[in-house]
């Protein structure tokens, strides 16, 4: 518990043993949490157990056979070049997304923090894609990124010939990343903006009197002061990036080749295109382990590089 939110529940006028009133309170408590607790058991714990169980089985949906196979699915996982490709695709996507997203979010937040005219309007612009339906946003960008789409038409006005963005190995992944960055960077921008406004003005003032320039002040004061937010936003973005699905499905369908088949898309294909439920479950277990490991790793590293702990 964060210290601020610990609050002692009001003392009850009861003796040592639980009185009737207290027990009635228990019943109310159990009743109130029952929906989410039962939901957690039925829709989180049970499926998690099932997915592990499935992953240990050879499952032929068409023939209706379900036989114990031990670690066979995991052995197949290790030898599967498609899985390596999808892990690499996920890795590139995550790295590209986090780097571009954090950099742009920070830039936008710093610009909006300058008390410039029209700040409110710009903030609305940058935030608006966050509320636009993901698939709708992706479809519009898909339209813009076609070989004869708006972006290449724009480039043609300057005599440039743009590539077929979504159909070429090099640009397909970049396109997916950029579309995703513009969709959600507004959220991170707001979080950074809040953090920037929490940096005490006196520190900036003192540094200014000591002759520190704008960049020096940003490096030595602002950045360390907002480092907890940067870490937090990075974690949210990385974990979120592993769950990218709709964008891939609409923009590239995993292609060209399988250059944009990220792990979740690979899992979806194995399960719902090829009916490989057992193997897909092994992929799902791998995905779960990666998400878990990333979350733990991030929190471990938190103490090492975050300067300003709040």
């Amino acid at each position: 518990m964060a210290a601020a939110s610990v609050r002692v529940v009001a003392p009850r006028p009861t003796g040592v043993r639980a009185s009737k009133g207290v027990r009635r309170d228990w019943v109310v408590g159990y009743t109130m949490v029952a929906p989410v607790v039962l939901g957690a058991l039925a829709f989180v714990v049970l499926p998690l157990g099932m997915v592990v169980w499935y992953s240990l089985h050879e499952w032929n949906v068409l023939a209706g056979t379900f036989t114990f196979a031990g670690a066979a699915n995991y052995e197949r996982l290790l030898a599967d070049p498609g899985l390596v490709d999808s892990l690499l695709a996920s890795l590139w996507f995550s790295i590209g997304l986090v780097v571009l997203n954090i950099a742009l979010a920070l830039l936008l937040a710093v610009l909006l923090d300058q008390k410039l005219p029209g700040t409110t309007t710009f903030r609305t612009f940058f935030f608006s894609p966050v509320v636009v339906s993901l698939v709708a946003w992706t479809i519009v960008w898909s339209f813009l990124l076609q070989a004869d789409g708006g972006i290449n038409g724009f480039l043609a006005m300057f005599g440039l010939e743009g590539p077929n963005w979504l159909r070429q190995g090099g640009t397909a992944m970049l396109s997916v990343i950029v579309v995703q960055v513009f969709k959600n960077v507004g959220l991170n921008m707001i979080l950074f903006l809040a953090a920037l406004q929490g940096v005490p003005e006196e520190l900036q003032e003192a540094a200014r009197l000591d002759g520190a320039g704008a960049w020096r002040r940003f490096r030595s004061i602002t950045l360390p002061m907002i480092s907890p937010t940067i870490l937090l936003v990075s974690i949210i973005t990385i974990v979120g990036s592993l769950e990218v699905f709709a964008q891939i499905d609409v923009l590239t369908g995993g292609g060209p080749g399988n250059s944009t088949t990220v792990l979740v898309y690979y899992l979806y294909q194995q399960a719902f295109r090829f009916n490989e439920f057992g193997y897909a479950s092994a992929v799902a277990v791998l995905l779960f382990v990666i998400v878990l490991a990333l979350t733990l790793l991030q929190w471990q590293s938190r103490k090492r590089w975050v300067f300003h702990e709040v």
Binding site: A2, A4, S5, R7, V9, D25, W26, V28, G29, M32, V33, P35, V36, V37, G39, A40, A42, F43, V44, V45, L46, P47, V51, L108, Q114, K115, R123, F125, F126, F127, S128, P129, V131, S133, V135, A136, I139, V140, W141, F143, G150, G153, M157, F182, L187, I190, A194, Q197, G198, E201, L232, I236, D249, Y268, A271, S281, A284, L287, V291, W299
Partner: protein
């Protein structure tokens, strides 16, 4: 276990006490004496109000402008002009797609396919909008998305408020263990459990119905964030308010319904906004669970406007997309403050 992992929770509350609470005090304080302090703990108020474009009282102009000589001032003005120009340039990729979507939906296919794009449709036509409804049961699909999102939102608000209240306010044996069990849902991405959930839904005979799209989000992993936010809110609610209710002879349910719930409107609002948008945007689950067109939800339906060769019918697809996007965008522009606060704050928690 979860909360020392979330440093900004406490910090945000302190911020709200300083600058963000003014707004909420007006609203809830008017009807209930003593409600002011609860404003400071309101989850959705945690961002400083300055983030939302209000004045920034904390920062003084500090007289540096007066000290600067005229030449420096002119240079600063130029620098600021440059920054504004940069902002204009940077806002293009955010604004242009929406505008391009709306204008392209008014173009006939021939104009869309022409090599040099027209910024404004030369022969605007609503023909594509008609075809949106003839090619698919689009009105039905719109209604599906709308009622599913509404049901999920109301259900989540109710379930999360109850659980959040009980975990924050009622002492009962095993409460902590149960809370940890529920929180574990935050660590499980929905993609991990999609195969077994599909099998469960299938064995219940509920494939191609809307049940899994309503029940699983309300009770399963997607609701955990809402429970967490509501619990944080109720933890900060002064106990004296409940004591007063108890003096007046209210039971637990009475205190919850008549005192705690009405005070939690801002936190509930945040929960409502992000829950609605999440359901409205759901894509993987509908394509896994639904197979007939009149059951489809919007995100799924939007991708179906293709010609016989599988190529997208752009103007029709963009018309349908426009119909999907504009209402939410309008609501956002009207209630921008609530959206930004609600989403940014829950983003922190997630």
């Amino acid at each position: 276990m979860k909360s020392d992992v979330m440093p900004p929770a406490g910090n945000g509350r302190a911020d709200a006490g300083r600058s963000g609470a003014g707004h909420s005090t007006e609203r809830s304080g008017a009807e209930r004496p003593g409600a002011e302090r609860s404003g400071a703990g309101v989850a959705a108020q945690a961002l400083p109000s300055t983030t939302l474009g209000g004045l920034r009282p904390a920062r003084s102009p500090s007289g540096r402008r007066n000290l600067a000589p005229a030449g420096l001032r002119a240079r600063r003005r130029w620098a600021r002009g440059g920054l504004v120009a940069l902002l204009v340039l940077l806002s293009l990729p955010f604004v242009f797609p929406t505008w391009w979507m709306a204008t392209s939906s008014l173009k006939p296919m021939s104009e869309i396919l022409q090599a040099v794009p027209t910024i404004w449709p030369r022969n605007p036509t609503f023909e594509a909008y008609g075809r949106v409804f003839t090619l698919q049961p689009f009105a039905q699909q719109y209604w599906n998305s709308l009622y599913i999102a509404a049901a999920v939102t109301i259900g989540t608000m109710l379930v999360a408020a109850m659980a959040g209240y009980a975990f924050a306010r009622i002492r009962f044996p095993g409460a902590n263990a149960l809370f940890v069990l529920v929180l574990a849902g935050l660590l499980v991405p929905s993609e991990v459990t999609i195969v077994p959930l599909f099998r469960i839904v299938n064995s219940l005979g509920l494939i191609d119905t809307h049940w899994p799209l309503v029940v699983i989000p309300v009770l399963g992993a997607p609701a955990v964030l809402a429970v967490f936010i509501m619990r944080q809110f109720f933890l900060a609610l002064p106990a004296e308010l409940e004591e007063a209710g108890r003096m007046d002879g209210l039971g637990r349910w009475g205190i919850f319904w008549r005192i705690a719930l009405p005070l939690s409107r801002s936190a509930l609002g945040a929960v409502a906004i992000f829950t609605f948008l999440k359901s409205w945007n759901l894509y993987l689950e509908p394509i896994v669970y639904l197979s007939s067109k009149d059951k489809f939800t919007l995100p799924q339906a939007l991708t179906q406007y293709v010609d016989a060769y599988g190529g997208p019918m752009w103007n029709v697809q963009l018309a349908a997309t426009t119909l999907t996007v504009l209402p939410v965008l309008v609501v956002f522009l009207v209630a921008q403050r609530q959206f930004v606060q609600g989403l940014a704050h829950t983003g922190l928690k997630g």
